[in-house]
């Protein structure tokens, strides 16, 4: 059998466009996931505040305990039963963002709880409110510790974004499948798609490594 990458070259602009959509979906979901992650991570800091803690826990339990694909289908195929019809792209971003937020919230919580208790005590002893101490003292230190696990999470998000192709979104995988449906060159096209994903994930990993180093030099880490 001979490999024929002709269809890949002939349709490279479609693949590039698909890659761009993948980056857009992932990027938007990333922003949403970070916001949700920070919010829910803070909600779950103190088990004594029962209502907040319970709200956060229900979210994390449900999202981490069910398949992402099912969550996406619930948004895209389920919500229309209530008359809520969301555009596919929006559903993809929402689904991925909510999913990633659950994992990111645990990263946020873990990083904050890893900061020595004395830091909060010193800040409060100066007269800072809990919120001010969190913003000025705890979070700047915690964020540096969040970066390595967040890097893993971002990379996972890029790969998980392939599922949105099932919501009719023309992402990288979807564009690849369209090319296959005409050329029947599954192996070559999927290989090309896989390589582009590899490029995206590694570029992200590299960028985060640079960021981490910069923060270290900037003195945010001892």
């Amino acid at each position: 059998m001979k490999l024929d990458f002709g269809p890949v070259w002939a349709n490279w602009s479609d693949l590039a466009h698909g890659a761009l959509v993948t980056v857009e979906v992932t990027g938007a979901a990333l922003v949403l996931g970070c916001l949700l992650g920070l919010l829910v991570g803070l909600l779950r800091l103190d088990p004594r505040r029962r209502v907040r803690y319970a709200l956060g826990s229900v979210y994390v339990t449900f999202i981490r305990g069910t398949p992402l694909l099912v969550q996406l289908f619930l948004l895209f195929f389920g919500l229309p039963q209530f008359g809520i019809v969301l555009p596919a792209f929006f559903c993809g971003v929402l689904g991925l963002g909510i999913y990633s937020g659950a994992y990111q919230s645990e990263i946020v919580r873990g990083a904050i709880q890893s900061i020595d208790r004395g830091q909060m005590e010193a800040a409060r002893s100066l007269g800072m409110s809990h919120g001010m101490a969190m913003r000025a003292i705890i979070l700047p230190q915690a964020i540096v510790r969040m970066i390595p696990p967040l890097g893993n999470e971002f990379i996972a998000l890029i790969k998980n974004s392939a599922l949105v192709s099932l919501l009719t979104i023309s992402d990288l995988l979807h564009e690849g499948q369209k090319i296959i449906s005409v050329s029947y060159r599954s192996l070559e096209v999927y290989l090309a798609v896989a390589l582009i994903y590899l490029l995206l994930t590694n570029a992200t990993g590299f960028a985060l490594l640079r960021l981490e180093r910069r923060l270290r030099v900037g003195g945010l880490v001892q």
């Binding site: 005590e121 002893s125 007269g127 409110s129 001010m132 000025a136 945010l220 880490v221 001892q222």
Partner: protein, 255 residues
């Protein structure tokens, strides 16, 4: 600012606290008058640190009463409301055994952050004040250093400057030299002596008996959550009335 200008800066009465079945404070009474230096000594586990931490609300007692600068910090098992507690804490400086400097901020920023964020002081004014304080604790040349690059003694002196930047009416010291290498203890004690000489009101927990003898106006001996006795250092160190005080001092001096 305080309710009665002549009254004590700190008044603790009948303070009790238990962790489960363990009693850490049992009906403790203590008062600190303006410009007084009160030193609490006693074996480890005697409740000294808990007592000190109760005085700025880091720990909450079970029963009793604490008045700080004329404000009731704690009574009837309840702590002051959070917003008022924050305001009161700006008038009470705290120095920890483990320094607790903010590692992501420079020495100067550690000292200015309180005045800037809480007092809303202008940056130039806060920096000027911080430089003066750093000069006072002998660290003017370390303003731009990060805490991680300092020795323990230097860290503790920065921590003292950070607390002083809020212009407190009372300073609490929780074993400020216990985490230091022996050769670094002196520089921190010197700063504290100067502070006492300037008339700062101080409550401190320490194992430095010479410092207590030299600087304290009142020495309080604690054991098992109770105050065993208290009095001027000359009495406590030379002619203690309680057997437990004698036993403790003997153990410390023989060390």
């Amino acid at each position: 600012m305080s309710g009665n200008a002549q009254g004590p800066v700190l008044a603790v009465s009948n303070l009790s606290k238990s962790y489960g079945p363990t009693r850490v404070l049992a009906d403790v009474d203590l008062s600190v008058q303006p410009s007084q230096v009160v030193v609490v000594i006693g074996p480890s586990g005697s409740g000294k640190t808990t007592l000190l931490r109760c005085c700025n609300g880091l720990e909450v007692a079970d029963r009793g009463r604490i008045e700080v600068c004329g404000t009731t910090l704690f009574s009837d098992g309840r702590l002051l409301r959070d917003s008022e507690l924050n305001a009161l804490r700006t008038r009470v400086g705290m120095v920890f055994q483990s320094f607790n400097l903010f590692p992501h901020l420079t020495v100067l920023q550690n000292v200015t952050i309180g005045p800037r964020r809480i007092r809303r002081k202008a940056p130039s004014e806060a920096v000027e004040q911080a430089r003066a304080l750093l000069h006072k604790v002998g660290l003017a040349d370390k303003a731009d250093a990060l805490p991680g690059t300092l020795s323990g003694g230097q860290k503790q002196r920065v921590a003292i400057a950070r607390a002083l930047a809020m212009e407190p009416q009372l300073m609490l010291f929780d074993e400020p030299t216990s985490a230091l290498d022996p050769e670094l203890v002196g520089e921190v004690l010197q700063v504290m002596k100067a502070l006492a000489r300037d008339g700062m009101t101080m409550l401190l927990v320490t194992h430095e008996m010479n410092f207590a003898r030299e600087v304290a106006d009142v020495v309080v001996v604690m054991d098992h959550g109770r105050t065993v006795e208290s009095g001027p250092p000359s009495t406590i160190f030379s002619a203690p009335s309680q057997a437990r005080t004698r036993a403790f001092l003997q153990a410390v001096i023989e060390r």
